[in-house]
């Protein structure tokens, strides 16, 4: 099963490399957002506890503008029926999830690099904890965004609905992630951040399980 997921992932990757639509548009999206923040700041210096929150705001909206393509593009190209024929629903969810995971890790690393470059105060006292937060947060966003994207694609690709539907689902994740980013900027320990980190891991697992359970219903018309 993993192999067919991998095959689906490779197919998405190849069609992405051919057009480079998602990477180009998302890259531009990040640059535009960060430059808007820079313009609005002018010569002011951004306070340290604000940079963590702003980072996740940019991450959220980048995800919302890019991750719905995984399913919407299939509907647009009319290849849904072919996918129905060749693969089981679980395989399709897995393949799309791999692709979205790759995309979001790439995008957020770029955002992170830009933030470290432009904001002097975006320096972590405990980078190891932030790395964990970054990984768990990205996985959570990718999983929740993938299952919502499947719903959106069936609702004939209503793009404005995507952030509306995703926000309440992602809100618990975002609250914890923003809180942890703030504390890891100021410096924290594993014992202090333990409950929040384990909550993030639980969120990822619960989302993965519920996506796995419910995807069949979305996918079968």
């Amino acid at each position: 099963m993993i192999r067919s997921m991998w095959a689906l992932f490779k197919k998405d990757l190849q069609s992405e490399i051919r057009t480079r639509y998602a990477i180009n548009s998302l890259g531009m999206f990040i640059i535009v957002t960060v430059s808007v923040i820079l313009f609005s700041l002018g010569s002011e210096k951004l306070a340290q506890n604000l940079t963590g929150g702003l980072f996740w705001v940019v991450v959220f909206f980048t995800a919302m503008s890019g991750l719905s393509r995984a399913f919407v593009s299939e509907e647009e190209r009319g290849t849904v029926m072919t996918l129905h024929l060749i693969a089981r629903p679980t395989v399709i969810l897995g393949g799309k999830l791999f692709f979205n995971l790759g995309l979001i890790f790439l995008m957020n690393s770029v955002t992170f690099l830009l933030f470290s470059g432009f904001f002097e105060t975006f320096v972590f006292k405990s980078p190891d904890i932030f790395l964990l937060v970054f990984i768990f947060g990205n996985i959570g966003i990718a999983v929740a965004a993938t299952i919502i994207a499947a719903i959106i694609a069936k609702a004939s690709g209503k793009a404005t609905l995507y952030p509306v539907l995703s926000f309440p689902i992602l809100l618990p994740l975002m609250l914890i992630v923003i809180d942890l980013t703030k504390t890891s900027l100021e410096g924290t320990t594993y014992t202090d951040a333990g409950i929040e980190l384990s909550f993030l891991a639980c969120y990822d697992i619960v989302m993965l399980v519920i996506s796995y359970l419910l995807f069949d219903f979305i996918w079968k018309d």
Partner: protein
């Protein structure tokens, strides 16, 4: 009919008793409520605000329950049941937010200041809003029922976190939050017997009100569907 009158009598009883009985330092007579430190006279809102928030969550639970039933059996009436429950839940959720906000103005001095409890009720409002936005965007009945049911299931797993976990692990001003030592778990420790009786009667009365409204709304929706179907039949 019987249910209607029971609800009427119980809710008027709770309103009269809850508002008129005095709050005193050391209650002796049967009609006196104890003084809860940190809440004082504002404590009376507990008879209305807490049942309303309880119903906002209960209605959501029922909506999800019928969604799951719809996904299992594909019975169209289950979708209508789920939809009715969500509609009522939204009304109760708005009422709970408004009463909570009024209380916050009196107790904390501002209508809204992103206390964990306020964040959580806001998130539930958002979930209801997203649910209705999704429903209204879909024309095909079967698709609408399935996707709304799936969304309601996904959204429901975040609710326990908002309602039960977050307000208790984060520090906040709402009675019952993590650092609250004065007015801690209000229901179990700080209320005396008569206050508890009024509180649970109120909880029961509001739940009954919900179930009456729900069956009314469900039957109305069912008739509307029937009417629309018969009209379609006439046109053909």
């Amino acid at each position: 009919m019987f249910k209607k009158f029971t609800v009427y009598i119980l809710i008027s009883l709770v309103s009269i008793v809850g508002i008129s009985f005095p709050i005193v330092k050391s209650p002796e007579k049967w009609y006196e409520f104890p003084n809860i430190p940190g809440l004082e006279e504002n404590a009376k809102i507990i008879f209305f605000h807490v049942p309303l928030s309880w119903l906002a969550v209960l209605a959501f639970l029922m909506s999800t329950y019928f969604s799951i039933r719809y996904l299992r059996k594909k019975d169209f009436t289950d979708d209508l049941k789920s939809y009715t429950s969500a509609q009522l839940g939204l009304i109760f959720c708005i009422l709970a937010t408004v009463t909570g906000s009024v209380w916050a103005k009196l107790a904390w001095g501002s209508f809204w200041n992103w206390d964990p409890r306020e964040t959580s009720i806001f998130a539930i409002l958002l979930i209801y809003g997203a649910y209705f936005a999704l429903r209204s965007s879909l024309d095909n009945e079967e698709k609408r029922a399935t996707l709304a049911a799936v969304y309601s299931c996904i959204a429901f797993i975040t609710v326990p976190f908002f309602v039960f976990i977050m307000p208790r692990i984060m520090t906040g001003l709402h009675p019952g939050s993590a650092d609250d030592s004065t007015s801690g778990p209000v229901v179990s420790f700080k209320m005396n017997m008569n206050m508890r009786v009024v509180f649970f009667v109120s909880l029961g009365a509001f739940t009954l009100l919900y179930s009456w409204l729900w069956s009314l709304g469900y039957r109305a929706l069912l008739l509307k569907e029937k009417f629309l179907k018969s009209q379609e039949g006439l046109e053909q």
